[in-house]
Subunit: 336 residues, 2 copies
DNA sequence: ATTAGCACTCGATTTATCTAAGTGCTAATT
DNA sequence: AATTAGCACTTAGATAAATCGAGTGCTAAT
């Protein structure tokens, strides 16, 4: 499955030209633009062979070639040169990710920034494997409590519990103890289940209030797709979406949480994973690629994925995600 | 500017048929479907007159008629019968709006529900005219403070402030005082400005921390478009969007906060307001209608607007919003 | 005041024609 | 053996012409 140098050059030229132009690439273009020292006829012969081997495809018989999924894969694994980001891009990222707020704010900023920079939607998924460090209760009024959860890695989440009866100070203290004893060490994403366990075994005195807290925290802390930064203006301008049906399909994919959740669950465990077109198990995604960054600290914090038609500048995307990742590592390593 | 009964019947038939079919309505359709006791020729004469008066338009000379903005306006003001919602719809709404969480959660649920029910995007705008009752600070760690803002009507908002230096207990107490003295009574939406005033006149000791708080609260509390429930699957299916350019334009409008903010600022002060097509000042919106509900308690809490091509079932939309409003009134009147 | 009758208009659909890009193959060349 | 010039061939896409049908506006009759 190895290609000689000339084939490699041709394949990489086709991929890069197609990524830029969105038009099938012909033999003449390759000779002219990419300085191959051969005639178009030679290139044609080689392209035929590359097509026979499944690296290239021909939309129709009198058209140029476009990369197949296999072609993109070979390019990504063997041919792609990692581009350095331009100073402009670096500045843009640095200015957009201010580090304001907690980890979640930070990831959201990163997600928006990447989406804007690449002109593709990004999907931010939170893992919440982080575990609870402690819980505080703050009395707001007689009947309203603010429940504040602090995680080991510094995530702070809260929810409001509205009760029907007035809560005496004792109860609040007692409740704080109960919550801390039972929940310390629990992963954030499992708080809901843990609390329901507590409810089922604890005195019924607390069950109403615990129910409220459980429901509130479930909404704040569940894992899964958190946010889609959908830079729609630019994505719909892609020639891939000049056909309304395709545009609709894509929009549909983006708004179907299940598809995204299950697809992103299958991304590799490495920091960087690339799924191209039909490599995707989900058939609706067979014309799209997902390039995703697992955000790791001690634990898997979340995942930031770029979704796009297969035609995307993989090199720039990877560089961007890597740069974002280095920023994360930097910010995480700083003491809070 | 008053129309005789027959013209009214014809106009309302054209509007209702066009709302349903999205096709220009011809004289024969009206006679057949709406039981007018006249021949198509008579209807044609009347339609001609209605067109001369600006109530109807003809896409081209050999087509049927469609309502003009003026025609829709007359229909909405004089002809439209308010439909009762079906039990199905009422159940759907009742089950979707659970009343969980604070006011903001509630409005978001309502916005999503209306969007799903009508198959149109909804825009939720929050006003935050509600004023600050008190502010508490909670120390999370040496360097992290949780700032909790409580409003008069029960909204609770918070943000995290991360500082570079360790904050002594005294400082926290002092700061709490400063914040309460300066911010009590301030409308939530003006907290940012109020805090910056404080910063400019207070001792520089607090300026870093106040800056953090100011920034954090600005993000939590600013007024304006809060959430767009964009039920994209169904909206893009409308025949109005079979042309990609129009679809893009609409998507663009939805993602341009400025357009929506300034348009919604001009909506009437009544609980229910309807802006049709070119009545809109913003030229980009001249083919769209906005039907919006101002949500009032003591103060103006926010606005829930449906945005759509001019062709929308105004009657059902109005009924839905009115029903939602009655639910709000019910929930607000209950004590917390 | 209403309507039957009819010529007319124009968008939409279909069919035919043309063009340009790019191929694959063969035979000649290096 | 590798490369390339030459050429017939294919096909998408653009343009033009032909046809169809829905619906009109006007005139004259009822």
């Amino acid at each position: 499955m190895s290609l000689d140098e000339r084939k490699k050059k041709i394949l990489s030229s086709v991929v890069e030209d197609y990524i830029e132009s969105a038009e099938p690439v012909g033999s003449k273009t390759i000779v002219d633009k990419y300085n191959l020292e051969y005639s178009p006829a030679t290139i044609r012969n080689e392209m035929k062979l590359l097509e026979d081997d499944g690296y290239l495809e021909q939309p129709h018989i009198s058209a140029g070639r476009i990369p197949s999924t296999k072609g993109y894969r070979y390019y990504v694994d063997n041919l792609m040169k990692e581009k350095k980001l331009s100073m402009l891009d670096i500045n843009y990222i640095d200015n957009s990710i201010t580090g304001y707020g907690d980890t979640e704010n930070l990831l959201e900023q990163a997600s928006d920034t990447v989406s804007k920079l690449l002109g593709r939607p990004t999907i931010l998924t939170l893992k919440n494997e982080d575990i609870i460090e402690s819980i505080k209760l703050l009395r707001i009024t007689d009947k309203i409590l603010l429940v504040i959860v602090m995680s080991k890695n510094g995530t702070i989440k809260d929810c409001v519990a509205k009760l029907t009866d007035i809560i005496p100070e004792d109860t609040v203290n007692e409740l704080t103890k109960v919550l801390n004893i039972n929940l310390k060490g629990t992963p954030l994403e499992r708080v809901y289940y843990a609390l329901n366990m507590v409810i089922s075994k604890e005195l019924t005195t607390f069950s109403e209030i615990l129910g409220q807290i459980s429901e509130g925290l479930r909404r704040e802390l569940n894992s899964g797709v958190k946010k889609i930064s959908n830079n729609v203006e630019s994505i719909l301008e892609l020639p891939e979406f000049s056909d309304v049906e395709k545009a609709k399909n894509f929009v549909n994919i983006l708004s179907t949480k299940d598809i995204l959740d299950s697809t992103l669950a299958k991304v590799s465990n490495n920091e960087l994973g690339i799924i191209i077109g039909s490599e995707n198990k989900e058939i609706l995604l067979s014309e799209y690629s997902i390039i995703s960054l697992n955000i790791l600290d001690d634990k898997n914090i979340g995942n930031l994925s770029v979704i796009s038609p297969k035609r995307i500048d993989y090199s720039k995307t990877v560089s961007t995600l890597k740069y974002i990742n280095s920023k994360f590592k930097n910010l995480f390593s700083k003491p809070n």
